[in-house]
Symmetry: C2
Subunit: 211 residues, 2 copies
DNA sequence: TAGATTGTTAATCGATTAACAATC
DNA sequence: TAGATTGTTAATCGATTAACAATC
């Protein structure tokens, strides 16, 4: 697994998008400043935690006043690399893949899927909302040529590792894996497994406890 | 012996599905026993952690031998309430909602979506793969009558809280929220927010660091 | 100023990892 | 038996929360 030197705590990184959501909401009301107390109350966090999290992004607050909202949003976005879109390739144009391709909102989170691949001859050449489905065997070369570093895997579980290998061969260094398996990748490549199993475990266990 | 039922650590709960994945794979090779060492190696965990996690489900291993795979799978499934399917209502038949409805694999994770709701007149009455889309205003009553306790939210962010309120009114006690907002629900109701923002934060930050 | 708020250091809490006796 | 493995207690690590001086 890709081992990374981690200067920012992972929980902090995971919370930053929540701050962004809240801050955007408050900004649209015309407010200019907000404080860790308000943010914490709204999101159910601890105020100290909020201050520490935000400090990682480099923002400086003003005692008595709080944080300038617009600057704070920029600071978080910059920290997450969300001020520039990260171009990505998606592999696996099934139902889930198509839903990903057609959803517009991911640009808000720095993700810009610019091409989709599959190895099903029935799909290759077909058009989706924003382009044509390309053959999987062109992916690695294209990724190299276009300097794509982010990949999205939406193939069935039994093909996910194979696709990951191809992505790595194409120079991709960060993979959003929506297949329900954990993947092996070399050092330096980061995989994030996003599948519903863990969430359902929490929810189903909760229901079991409550009877 | 009469044990104090200690609350299960959340990280443990999140890891249990990974064990299940691995164990099912090994079971299909015909092996009867496996050990914490092997499991840990395969999944990149610590062997002690594996033993502690598994102990929470009530399984007992045999020194020198390890854990009986079939029994362990049953133990985990039972612990997660995944041996019985949890019937669920889904609200919001957009692209993502439809992908959820058409994917068959969630039954493996204890989820069984038995009805889909929307408030778009153009969608109500239309059929998806396994049924008819129902009007949202029938949802709360139906949930009560059918004793549905699990809900899936796949509406746009700005309607998610409203839908959550209706679910709670209908007696739903566990919500899988796929809209990119955090929801307020009363004590006793568990919401799991499943959106890609946190994962993308990790991946995009990784790319930024690596240049 | 007075009071709210930041930024930081210290204390607490919980999860992970290490050590090891008991087991078959 | 001998050696691998479990289950449990102790040590470590990291994140959260508390306390508080500095600030405007």
């Amino acid at each position: 697994m890709g081992q990374i030197v981690r200067e920012v705590p992972l929980p902090t990184l995971r919370r930053l998008p929540s701050y962004l959501n809240y801050l955007n909401k408050v900004l649209s009301t015309g407010q200019a400043y907000t404080s860790s107390t308000y943010i914490a109350q709204e999101l159910g966090f601890d105020p100290t935690q909020v201050r520490k999290d935000l400090a990682f992004t480099g923002i400086e607050g003003k005692p008595k006043v709080g944080y300038p909202i617009a600057a704070l949003i920029e600071s978080i976005k910059n920290f997450l690399n969300w001020d520039n879109l990260n171009d990505a390739f998606l592999v696996g144009v099934g139902k889930l893949g198509l839903a990903m391709l057609e959803y517009e909102g991911y640009t808000q989170y720095g993700l810009n899927i610019i091409a989709a691949f599959d190895n099903d001859p029935d799909k290759i050449g077909k058009n989706y909302c924003r382009g044509e489905i390309l053959p999987l065997d062109k992916m690695a070369n294209l990724a190299k040529r276009m300097h794509i570093h982010l990949g999205v895997i939406t193939v069935p579980a039994n093909h996910a590792q194979e696709v990951a290998n191809i992505m790595v061969a194409g120079g991709i260094r960060a993979i959003l894996n929506l297949a329900p398996v954990s993947l092996c990748v070399p050092e330096g490549v980061l995989v994030h497994n996003e599948n519903l199993a863990a969430g359902l475990a929490l929810l189903c266990r909760h229901l079991k406890k409550e009877g």
